[in-house]
Symmetry: C2
Subunit: 353 residues, 2 copies
Amino acid sequence: MTVPAAPASEPGELPLDVILSQTVGTEFQSQLAELVPLLVRDLADIDRRMHEVLGATYPRLTDAATYACSAGGKRVRPVLMAALHRALGATDTRPVHSLAAAFQLIHTATLVHDDVIDHAEMRRGRPSLPQAFGLPLAIVAGDYLFVRAFELASEYPRSIIMRCGEACADLVEGEVLQESGRFDLTTGREHYYRVIERKTAAIVAAALGSVAEIQGAPVTVQDAAAAYGRSLGIAFQIRDDLLDVYGDSDVLGKPLYGDFREGNPTLVGLETYEGLDGNRRAEFERLFGLRRKQPGDLLRLRALVDAAGAPERVAAVARQWAERAIRSLEGLPPTPYRLLLEEMARGAAERRF
Amino acid sequence: MTVPAAPASEPGELPLDVILSQTVGTEFQSQLAELVPLLVRDLADIDRRMHEVLGATYPRLTDAATYACSAGGKRVRPVLMAALHRALGATDTRPVHSLAAAFQLIHTATLVHDDVIDHAEMRRGRPSLPQAFGLPLAIVAGDYLFVRAFELASEYPRSIIMRCGEACADLVEGEVLQESGRFDLTTGREHYYRVIERKTAAIVAAALGSVAEIQGAPVTVQDAAAAYGRSLGIAFQIRDDLLDVYGDSDVLGKPLYGDFREGNPTLVGLETYEGLDGNRRAEFERLFGLRRKQPGDLLRLRALVDAAGAPERVAAVARQWAERAIRSLEGLPPTPYRLLLEEMARGAAERRF
């Protein structure tokens, strides 16, 4: 299985229509065309709110924080938050801008600390923050982003701050859990889902549950929004694992095989491990367990993933989570924004970057 | 100048009377004896509140966070907060326990990340967290402590959360500023004070300003409390710089000469640099600038500090800041707790650990 390359685009700043063309089925784009200008404005407002709070009196800290926050990225969380807010009847998304900026800062802070921990050299097509600014500044800039995020969150009632805080605690736990399972394929699916629920899904769930609460939606709708976010997050992460082996590194903005190198037992690795027989299974396990892998090892790992037929099965699992996300939206009014949310769930499981 | 060794005590868990015997003049202890039981209880309650929030579903994260928080330490901030609260008329300090726990967690989080950045092997007489749990877990455990701190802070009105957030931003900035001036004695006093105001004083000021606000004190009293905290923090840090050269490493729980090794231009270094003439000044600057210093280099640096007569001058500056802190308390009612606060300021400038 190969994932076709995305149309030419800069991995840095991505206009929303490029994002939507990747995360939303193309045949659906024209119907969504009228929503785009509003969401583009929402996204610009959220970006502005985020950058407003980055100013430190020491310019190099501002520079580092701004560098981390201006790498573009897919901005899935803020788009989802604005779209859900509108799907629940909001005509003005300003009440969620600070919160969306906060979640984006938290996400960015964890990426920065992940890059420190993983010794990542590249992120979104540019040198990672530790690479560009050095390890000490990367650690404190991550802390700084957390702090500014919590200041933004403090504009909201305690229940929202706590959703935010618990999502952060989950993120941190996910990182620790992931760390504990490196280079070990016997950890199994339960461990895998525990990691990605915390590392990826919890923050999307918290962001969307918070939007529903801020909009005054009933608790059942708050829970449905959170469940949608959780399932979409899982679909997104499973797709991410697949792209790490089969994506286009130019489009992704980072080299392939990061999970093999770091020894992360993703669903791709687990499906392969379980799908192979005796000798090849042992070979896969041995190569996967190597702390330092040569290029030939990485290519052999990929060949074994192919041989196990894992990519198709993993892609199907991602789609199942997307469908589960969509089912969580059944109680929402049938607006174009709900359709957009549904398409974004499908897009999370189908995207190429 | 040598600092006499403290009475035998474990550097880990320190009973409050040992703390007070170090931070408070001994001749004054008997007068304060009646306050101790109450403050001991306050401190135990604050400790309990702090440990209550450390539980993660992944036990190793709880272990790391608990390890970082149970190293004892002087607990200057929580004692100051409880004492100020009582000095302002509170008979029950429960309203500030969560906040005191939050500030203690923030302080601990920054120590953990400092130890990562500085490659510190020891902290308070035990292996540092990165040494004991590894670098990745130390980074995420620091993040986790920040997150739990903000969850605790979210029990308070936004103005308090913002005091807390701004103090964190200052802390981070202080770390970055310090990083920018390493191995450079020409940065001067202005840089030094900018660093320690942010790294040490801002959080004490925010903690005490917050206590006054929570107790409903007028803004002038809130400002006075913050000013007291700031001056005490500066006195404390200047004394810390001196103890790094002249303290007892067994009592401090870490090796001496950390600032020389890390190239921090503290007031001890600056006073020496300015107090020496031509050749010896050049020698001091050259040795200070070495990225890797041998034991002989460190002893020669100390000999030059002696030769410049710096210790006495630095000790005097710390005492001046303590006096300034005491003057900030002039508007407070003359209770035994105010006397305790005054003595703690003096103690910050005189302590031996």
